[in-house]
Structures are given as structure tokens and as C-alpha cells.
């Protein structure tokens, strides 16, 4: 048995989605609005999920989100949520998994973690 250690430090340009990731770092939800059919999608994908148009304009959402489904791991929670104003939904990490709530708000992602995170609105319900 031979042991090898491989350390990778990726530098990943985000191209056309750069404004979205920059907004995300500030805790802002920047969505795409289709110039052809008007669909608003968050997270964006660079192509309209309804009509495949590529003429898309940036539009800012409130960042509020409704929880559709939630799954809990031993130490984390992830939800499928729909951000207010968006047609599609998104899989997001939960910043405060001890809170049980059907509402949340986009949270600033931890440093270098570019994915989506929400903070659930604390309505007094706690995970058992």
C-alpha cells in the first residue's frame, strides 16, 4: 500500500454568474429575469428554465424564503425553499438548524463557501 497526498487549491472563475456570487457574498439575492417570458429564477442558471432564452436581466429579490421540505443530518439541516418572487426553488443550507420554522431569509455565506445559506426566522420553535 502506497500513500499519496494530493492537495488541490482551485481558482474557479464564475463568468456570467459573477454578479450573482458577488451579491451573495453581501447577503443579497440577485435573480435573473427572462427578457422573453418574464420568469424570475433564483438561483440563476444563465438560461431561462421555462423558454431557454438567454437574454436575462439581473433583478434583486427580498431574500425572504418559504421552506418546502427540510432534512436534518446529525449536525446540520438543509431545506428546499422558494425565495419570494422566484419561480424555481433551491436547496440551501440552514445557518441555525436548531430553529424550526417555515420561513427564512438569505444569509451571508461563510467565507469561501459560495453556496446558498438561509437563516430561519425564529418563531420560538426549537428542534427536539
Amino acid at each position: 500500500m502506497t500513500k499519496h497526498r494530493l492537495t488541490l487549491e482551485h481558482c474557479l472563475p464564475k463568468g456570467r454568474l459573477t454578479p450573482y456570487f458577488e451579491a451573495l457574498a453581501r447577503g443579497k439575492a440577485l435573480a435573473e429575469r427572462c427578457g422573453s417570458c418574464g420568469r424570475v429564477q433564483f438561483p440563476p442558471g444563465g438560461i431561462c428554465g421555462d423558454c431557454n432564452a438567454t437574454e436575462l436581466a439581473w433583478t434583486e429579490l427580498s431574500g425572504a424564503a418559504d421552506v418546502i421540505f427540510r432534512t436534518d443530518t446529525p449536525d446540520r439541516a438543509f431545506t428546499l425553499v422558494r425565495f419570494e418572487g422566484a419561480r424555481n426553488s433551491a436547496v440551501v443550507a440552514v445557518a441555525n438548524p436548531d430553529v424550526l420554522s417555515s420561513r427564512g431569509r438569505l444569509a451571508t455565506s461563510p467565507a469561501n463557501a459560495q453556496g446558498l445559506t438561509i437563516e430561519l426566522v425564529d418563531e420560538g420553535n426549537r428542534h427536539a
Binding site: 454568474l17 421540505f69 432534512t71 443530518t73 426553488s89 436547496v91 453556496g115 446558498l116
Partner: protein, 385 residues
């Protein structure tokens, strides 16, 4: 034109602790397939290698290395990748080579070292990039959490329960007990599933397929290019493939496997049969609930939950599913998984599978695989000639 499975072989799927290498596994599977098909190495004129990730083997350009390892020189060779469907899509690619006349006898070798070359946590991190790495991957959303969110949508719509999922996990592990190559042949009950550690609700450890090491090989060719073996032959009578949106949230119903529906329709149409002609199936059960979601999408049940509860998918049922144990029981070395699914289905139709064979002697079998969360789907129909 007809393309047949000339022969095949697989290594045991397990967590290797014997010091053997992934190259050894490829060599063993290929040698077994040649012997099974009654062919010499020199008869093979093309190689398709299926492997999901170079991170596991630390070998880029694996097709060239596998060809060299197998002593295949001067051959057409390439690698096919499609996540969990890699092996199955490689079979489709090999079939296309035969159908196009590019090759006469194609060896399809699937391999993955998912279990022992890296620690489990690292493998989990890598596999989380099987979805959208810019969203799911960077938040650390693992495969199980994404499948969990999907099955919750399925359960809400169909009223399937955690016990329905557990029954699948139990039955596939029980089926695997007769399979000498199976990774997890377990004598368990539904209560064992419920008592196993939580991974991502509602999924518990025994609802999840294992990370396995192993390789599998099938050799494809036209009947006129293959030696007589004195036994029946199985042909691939139809194939279909289709993709879905990569992000679960971009789908209109996150609990429904739409791409699998399309792939199955195409495969059945190509074979000129309807779903009720299928007498045995190997279905992609990466998770217990995913098997029910797949059976629904494949059109193999009008009410999948009622059929599951009635025992229709058990060995004595109308449509035995995953007699090999499936991914849950036989195991899942990703690149090898789909190749093995095709192999064991062919063997089940011939009645030669070294585990449970269908009791009714069906003529047609269905093989189903996918990558991502039913994002890249492959379906094949196998038929006794």
C-alpha cells in the same frame, strides 16, 4: 441489426482489504468475461471504460491505462462518464460502436475504487460535487440530503411511509444474501432500518447504498461475430437515455424522476414492447426510496406504493426487482455499477445468475441507472434471443 451480450464477469463488490489494486479488478473482470464469452483477447477490437472519477483511482486517462493493463493494443478505446449511469452509458456506447460497424466485439469495463482509496468523508465531499458544485457542492449538501428532499416530495404525493422505504432496504439486502459478489448481504428487518443511525431524515444508514470497490465487464457483439456457447443468448433490444435539470429546485416536481420516464419510454419503444412485458428488473436503488421513485418513473407500476405493499416486486411477485440485491445489497462501485446491472439481468434471463433467479423464466428484463439525482438516466431492455 442485433447486439448481444456475448458474456461477462464481475469481481466481488466490497470494501477491499486484500491489497489488490483497481487494475487487478479490471484484469479479473475482463478475463472472466472473455472466458464466459468463449473469446480470445485478440477478438476484442474496442474497449469502453466506465469510471466516474479520477480522484478515486488517481489515474487520469483511464481508458488508455486499462487497455494497456488488459493487453489490448491497437484497439479503439475511450472512457464514458455519466455519474452513477457511467457504466450503463458505456454499454450504450459500446452498443453504438457495434451498430455503426466501427467495431465487431467491444469490451465494456466499469471500475471504481470508491470504498478504500480515500476516506469516507473525502468521498462524501467529492460526491457532493455530483450535483451543482456551485450551489449544492459548496454548501456541503451531500447526496443523501438531496435524495432525502426528493423522496419527501414523493412521500407527500404518494403517501409512502418510512416503513415502505425500509421494506425495500430489507428486501434488497435479503436478496443479496444469495449473491456471492454482494457487498451487503444482510439478514435484517424493518426495525433494524429504523434503528440504524440517522444520515439525513428520513434516510437512515440502512436506507443508503454503500460505497464499494470493484469492476465488471461485458462483451458486446453481433451474433454472427460470436462463437456458439451452447446456451441461450441475450440481446439488447432497446435503449433510451435522457437528462433532467441538474438542480432539484429547478424541477416542477422534485419527487418525480422525469428523465427516467423519458428514457424508459424510448427504450421500450425501441424494443417494440410495453412495460407489462418486463418480467424482471434491476433498478437504480442508490437509496431505498429512490427504488420506488424509479419504479414509478419507469412505468412499471400504476400505483407503486400499493404494488410495493402487495409484494409485487419480491422474488415471488409478478415483477421481481433487484434480485441481485441492487445497489443497496450488491453494492455500488460507481463506474462498474451499470455494467454489473446489465450483466446480472442478462444472467437472470438465462437463469444463470449465481444468486436469485426469477422463477417465472421471463423473456424481457429492464435495466435502469442514473447519475446525479435521476439527472442523467439510462434504460436498457434485454431480451432472450
Amino acid at each position: 441489426m442485433t447486439v448481444c451480450v456475448a458474456g461477462g464477469a464481475m469481481t466481488p463488490f466490497n470494501r477491499r482489504k486484500d491489497g489488490s489494486s483497481w487494475r487487478d479488478w479490471c484484469r479479473d473482470a475482463f478475463a472472466g468475461a472473455l472466458a464466459d464469452a468463449g473469446l480470445e483477447r485478440s477478438a476484442v477490437d474496442a474497449l469502453v471504460v466506465a469510471s466516474e472519477s479520477d480522484f478515486f483511482t488517481l489515474q487520469l486517462n483511464p481508458a488508455s491505462m486499462v487497455a494497456d493493463t488488459l493487453g489490448l493494443l491497437g484497439c479503439r478505446s475511450c472512457r464514458v462518464e455519466g455519474g452513477g449511469a457511467s457504466g450503463h452509458l458505456a454499454v450504450h456506447a459500446g452498443m453504438a460502436m457495434v451498430l455503426s460497424g466501427q467495431s465487431r466485439r467491444v469490451a465494456v469495463v466499469g471500475v471504481e475504487a470508491s470504498a478504500t482509496h480515500l476516506d469516507g468523508r473525502t468521498v462524501g465531499v467529492l460526491l457532493s460535487h455530483s450535483f451543482d458544485s456551485w450551489t449544492d457542492g459548496f454548501t456541503g449538501t451531500g447526496s443523501t440530503s438531496i435524495y432525502a428532499l426528493s423522496v419527501m416530495a414523493f412521500m407527500e404525493r404518494t403517501k409512502a411511509t418510512a416503513n415502505d422505504l425500509a421494506r425495500v432496504a430489507v428486501r434488497n439486502r435479503q436478496n443479496a444474501r444469495a449473491n456471492p459478489n454482494a457487498h451487503l448481504p444482510l439478514d435484517i428487518r424493518e426495525e433494524d432500518v429504523a434503528a440504524s443511525p440517522l444520515v439525513s431524515s428520513p434516510y437512515r444508514r440502512l436506507d443508503c447504498s454503500p460505497l464499494s470497490d470493484g469492476a465488471a465487464c461485458v462483451i458486446l457483439g453481433r451474433p454472427e461475430d460470436l462463437p456458439a456457447t451452447g446456451r441461450g443468448r441475450v440481446r439488447i433490444s432497446g435503449t433510451g437515455a435522457a437528462n433532467d435539470r441538474a438542480r432539484l429546485g429547478d424541477r416542477s416536481d422534485p419527487g418525480r424522476f422525469r428523465a427516467k420516464e423519458a428514457a424508459a419510454r424510448r427504450a421500450l419503444a425501441a424494443a417494440g414492447i410495453t412495460a407489462d412485458a418486463i418480467g424482471v428488473a434491476e433498478v437504480y436503488d442508490s437509496y431505498s426510496g429512490a427504488q420506488l421513485q424509479a419504479l414509478e418513473a419507469l412505468g412499471l407500476a400504476s400505483d407503486v406504493v400499493a404494488d410495493e405493499r402487495s409484494g409485487r416486486f419480491a422474488r415471488r411477485g409478478d415483477l421481481p426487482v433487484n434480485l441481485s440485491g441492487g445497489l443497496l445489497g450488491q453494492g455500488a462501485p460507481v463506474g462498474a455499477t451499470g455494467v454489473a446491472q446489465v450483466l446480472v439481468t442478462a444472467q437472470q434471463l438465462l437463469g444463470s445468475f449465481p444468486g436469485l433467479n426469477p422463477r417465472s423464466g421471463p423473456r424481457c428484463g429492464l435495466v435502469d441507472s442514473h447519475g446525479g439525482i435521476a439527472t442523467n438516466c439510462a434504460v436498457s431492455i434485454l431480451e432472450l434471443q
